[in-house]
Symmetry: C5
Subunit: 105 residues, 5 copies
């Protein structure tokens, strides 16, 4: 099993938790969900107690998809949320358990 | 043999099945097919009985190609379909059989 | 030697043949050639006797470059052609001979 | 731990220093922060005493996200700064300590 | 040391030469330099005595950054030049010496 996909809806943050069986998650793409609002929707990410960061900005009828190439392998919760009116579909795949040569986790 | 390409037509979902001989499939690109409609076409993906997710949104005369970087290695069927009036060409390549260090499949 | 680049001209398809010495070809990028036509140019790919697929769509003065990330390692001829008025420059690099764990080629 | 993210604010350069425990940093994406200015914001990078280079250009309401795919593993300080009115959110992940076959560092 | 960046100015081609110590160069991104011209700027590449190819096309106020994903490991000189009025900033990183299983170089 490799593929991973979720729809993040406005007002309903999604929490990703590390799963020993599946390993590191690679997120490849964000795509704007269907809807009529023409305001932009931003994808925000909160990891543990760090400051939130924006991952992408989707503009209706201009840029509705955005490649991401992010990887998550955190002990902390990773919370994705939408800032804006429309849902954002996130897709990617599990890389499996990646051997890590670093020593800080 | 590495290259993989299909045209997904509106109303005709395409089912990808895992093939032991070819291994994990990497999908690299989606491109809008020819046609006169100026409405957008979305690429949707259904894996097994999970909720469908959108992979990309193609806008005629604005954004007609979209990089994807997705990988599929599912026991379940993977069904690609178009939401919209024009076909979507998907291209990518087989990665071969990837050794998986995870333990959930 | 790693870099690979060709200009595909309208009406002059280009055939790529696998070369044992160079191995798998990674194509990274398509860019619209110079010219005055404002009609779009599509890049089409034919592999052996399979149906042709579109790899990207380039729109003058809007989207003149497109990342591709495709890999070719076919025994069959791979024919690239332009559908439209302007040439398309393809660039990428050889990956060398990639060990393939699959068993179908 | 893999994910890395920072917000670079105008007038407040951010310095990234190599950390033996985390290894090589892959930066994947730049996204324009919220704000009302419609002027573009550029991301600039200074490494040691080399000439500064621009990493991307973000255009409000046109191109608010940009994939980057850059890697940093410098002994020298790497300073990111914004040229323009709005902040830029940078995201990526640590690759861990990458074995380097070169001999110049 | 991994990061690599140069500014290619109009009328001043830049020559990249392979360096045994640093190995294969991965170029990730092109970004339009500052300036007031609204004409597009193309990035051209000449390798040895092969025909020049275009790597990307940057359009002021529309598409000012372009992901590239190209790799260079040539014995021949690689010459980058700008066709157009504004400079282009190229960034990437050294991959180190990559073991090559092919036999032609």
């Amino acid at each position: 099993m490799a593929f991973w996909g979720v729809e993040i809806k406005p007002g309903k943050p999604y929490t990703h938790q590390y799963d020993d069986m599946r390993g590191r998650l690679h997120i490849s793409q964000a795509t704007l969900g269907t809807g009529s609002s023409t305001d932009k929707s931003l994808l925000q990410c909160n990891v543990g107690d760090k400051s939130p960061v924006l991952l992408c900005s989707l503009l209706p009828d201009k840029t509705e998809s955005c490649p991401l190439s992010l990887e998550f392998e955190e002990d902390d919760d990773v919370v994705f949320s939408v800032v804006g009116p429309r849902s954002i579909h996130l897709t990617g795949f599990y890389l499996g358990v990646v051997q890590d040569f670093g020593g800080d986790d």
